[in-house]
């Protein structure tokens, strides 16, 4: 049984254009289905506005989707704010990109890491102190840093402290939204290694949201590529990035600057990602797609499963012309 399941989830927000404009329904995510297995990582990649973060919030039950179902541990996700949801929250934690914004600047690191234990009534005062000390060691912080305030730590150390806090309640699911994007390369590698070690030691499942394909490939057991609120390709990270099938994934992979000689020719897409409030008909990617056919302008492609188990939402996924393209 999967730890987390999303089935055909859609989230519709209403916005207005201008002060007196007509309300417009924006489908931030649409037709989203995936599973996260216990102890495994699902990576979600995509550009700004593709619905990655909304997906993370739905996965945590912070938002109730407009359509579809979310189950956690086999039971339906309770509504946010209810007592059941609150008690479930100790099993699900969230880590954001900006650790300084996620911390209280007036509290010491130890006090912040202890907070979830107090909220969920875990242990006595003395037990909590021991647990906090152990958590700080687990994430690679020194004991003397427990008494520091957030501004006294470097960006990498702050992100470690945020992780210690997220791990305090021993969660079975961690949603990480761009957790290493703000860190320098050498520190990023330390935190990525730590995340994989913690996962191996504690069996935590992760939803790892990032725009950085290299980092996602490194940490994920399965990867979903999103474009304008829908999954366009999903599968094993090594296979998917070695031989992307969807034209969007191909462009994304080819656009990654690699140190050293370029192995694949770069595909430069024209135009910007469209506004989710003004979604093109048919396949949302067709205005920027170099290989679009007539059907792409009218029919939304369904996710279909290929021989290697990968799922792709493209009319041309099975056609021989995609190889030539």
């Amino acid at each position: 049984m999967s730890l987390l399941t999303l089935t055909d989830v859609a989230q519709i927000y209403t916005t207005r254009r201008g002060l007196l404009g007509r309300p417009v329904a924006v489908r931030a995510v649409d037709g989203l289905s995936f599973r996260v297995e216990a102890g495994k990582t699902l990576g979600i990649v995509g550009e700004s506005g593709c619905g990655k973060s909304t997906t993370g919030r739905i996965a945590l039950g912070l938002e109730r989707p407009s359509q579809g179902h979310v189950t956690f541990n086999g039971t339906a996700m309770p509504a946010p704010g209810t007592a059941e949801w609150r008690s479930l929250r100790r099993q699900m934690q969230l880590v954001f990109q900006d650790p300084l914004g996620a911390m209280d600047r007036r509290l010491t690191i130890a006090a912040q890491v202890a907070e979830p234990l107090a909220i969920h009534n875990i242990g006595t005062e003395a037990e909590r102190a021991d647990r906090v000390a152990q958590l700080l060691i687990d994430v690679g912080l020194r004991p003397d840093q427990a008494a520091r305030h957030p501004h006294e730590l470097s960006g990498g150390q702050r992100q470690r402290a945020v992780l210690a806090r997220a791990l305090a309640t021993n969660p079975s699911l961690l949603v990480c939204d761009e957790p290493v994007s703000a860190l320098d390369v050498s520190i990023q590698a330390q935190v990525v290694n730590m995340l994989t070690d913690l996962q191996a030691a504690r069996g935590i499942a992760m939803v790892f949201i990032s725009h950085d394909l290299k980092v996602v490939r490194q940490v994920s057991h399965s990867v979903a590529v999103m474009y304008l609120g829908r999954i366009v390709e999903q599968g094993d990270p090594e296979a998917l990035f070695a031989d992307p099938v969807h034209p969007y994934t191909r462009a994304l992979v080819s656009a990654i600057p690699v140190p050293g000689p370029r192995r694949i020719p770069r595909i430069v897409l024209t135009g910007d990602p469209p506004n989710p409030a003004d979604r093109p008909p048919g396949c949302a990617f067709h205005p920027r797609c170099p290989v679009a056919i007539a059907a792409c302008r009218t029919d939304v492609p369904a996710l279909q499963t290929l021989d290697d188990g990968r799922q792709v939402a493209c009319h041309l996924a099975l056609s021989p012309s995609r190889i030539a393209a």
Binding site: Q157, D184, V185, D272
Partner: protein, 321 residues
């Protein structure tokens, strides 16, 4: 060949704290040079100092030779002609560099007036031509929109158009694509590469992303704690990095091909500028550090165009994939 610009022993301190500790760097006409390093390594400060853009609290010493003129201590009138004229700079966040309450076309026309004396219809026609040059579709109408009506990628194109207004010999691009999405980053890098080639303009690309620099530049300088620690032609640097820090940076990057391996993280963190170790600043994190590293290593030439500031640096093939 005489370099276009030559920074000589450039040092910057902010109220006694060293930010730049002796940078020597020259850029030839039409050359594309990359400057990589992590936060606080001094890559942006180098060029802000060279162009006299640092606040008065910074003390800057050394020389910045543009032809026969030293820009350091040059009168404001000279600097005003150079900045935006001979040397233009673009930054990471175009939205905050543009005036939010002025139409983008007007902002480009202002630069045209300052540096080329164009006004009225001539300035508007030239602004339209620049918009076309940088790939802004429907350029005539886009002159009249405000920055918030455009995407981040389009705003960066406006910034590039504005930088090109003075027909500069050198464009300094400070993290020009860091705030942009992957597919938009590819577009902007493509544009910069095309402009550099077609206009014969020199380019200095400041980036934390080794991949971006590898893609764009013929020569790369790696900075650490206020110094250039390695300099080499792009292919040499990525095929056989000599400085342990450069080797560490490349090993810390996840691969896009082949089996996944555990990342080789560089232990520790960048030293605080007010608490630099004596001798080599990288020594406390370096696997090859020994007693000889207690003295500041000289910048030695290892091969043609390849130099590193490390006593242990040797030219050899990379040991890791």
């Amino acid at each position: 060949m005489n370099p276009l610009i030559h920074l000589q022993n450039l040092e910057v301190t902010f109220q006694g704290t060293p930010a730049l500790r002796g940078v020597d760097l020259s850029v030839g006409a039409g050359e594309a040079v990359g400057l990589v390093g992590e936060s606080g390594s001094g890559k942006s400060v180098t060029w802000l100092a060279a162009l006299g853009l640092l606040p008065p609290t910074a003390s800057v010493t050394g020389r910045v030779m543009l032809g026969a003129d030293n820009l350091l201590g040059a009168p404001p009138a000279t600097l005003d002609r150079v900045r935006g004229g001979r040397i233009a700079m673009i930054f990471q966040d175009p939205a905050s560099a543009l005036n939010p309450v002025q139409r983008v076309g007007k902002q480009v026309m202002e630069a045209l007036g300052l540096h080329r004396g164009l006004t009225g219809a001539a300035a508007r026609a030239e602004a339209k031509r620049l918009f076309e040059l940088v790939g802004i579709p429907d350029s005539g109408r886009r002159l009249d929109v405000y920055p918030h009506e455009m995407s981040g990628g389009q705003n960066q194109r406006v910034m590039i158009a504005m930088a090109l207004a003075g027909e500069p010999e050198l464009l300094v691009a400070d993290e020009p694509t860091t705030a942009l999405d992957a597919t938009i980053q590819a577009q902007i890098l493509d544009l910069l590469r095309r402009l550099q080639r077609e206009m014969g303009m020199a380019l200095v690309l400041i980036s934390h992303d080794l991949g971006v620099v590898a893609d764009m530049c013929t020569r790369v300088c790696v900075m650490y704690a206020g110094r250039i620690v390695e300099q080499a032609p792009s292919e040499t640097l990525f095929a056989s990095p000599a400085h342990p820090y450069t080797q560490g940076l490349l090993a810390a990057l996840p691969d896009m091909v082949g089996p996944r391996r555990r990342l080789a993280a560089i232990p520790g963190a960048v030293p605080e500028p007010w608490n630099l170790p004596p001798g080599c600043a990288f020594a406390p994190r370096c696997p090859r550090a020994d007693a000889t590293c207690a003295v500041q290593p000289a910048f030695r030439t290892l091969a043609d165009g390849h130099a590193a500031a490390c006593v242990h640096a040797t030219v050899r093939e990379r040991i890791f994939a």
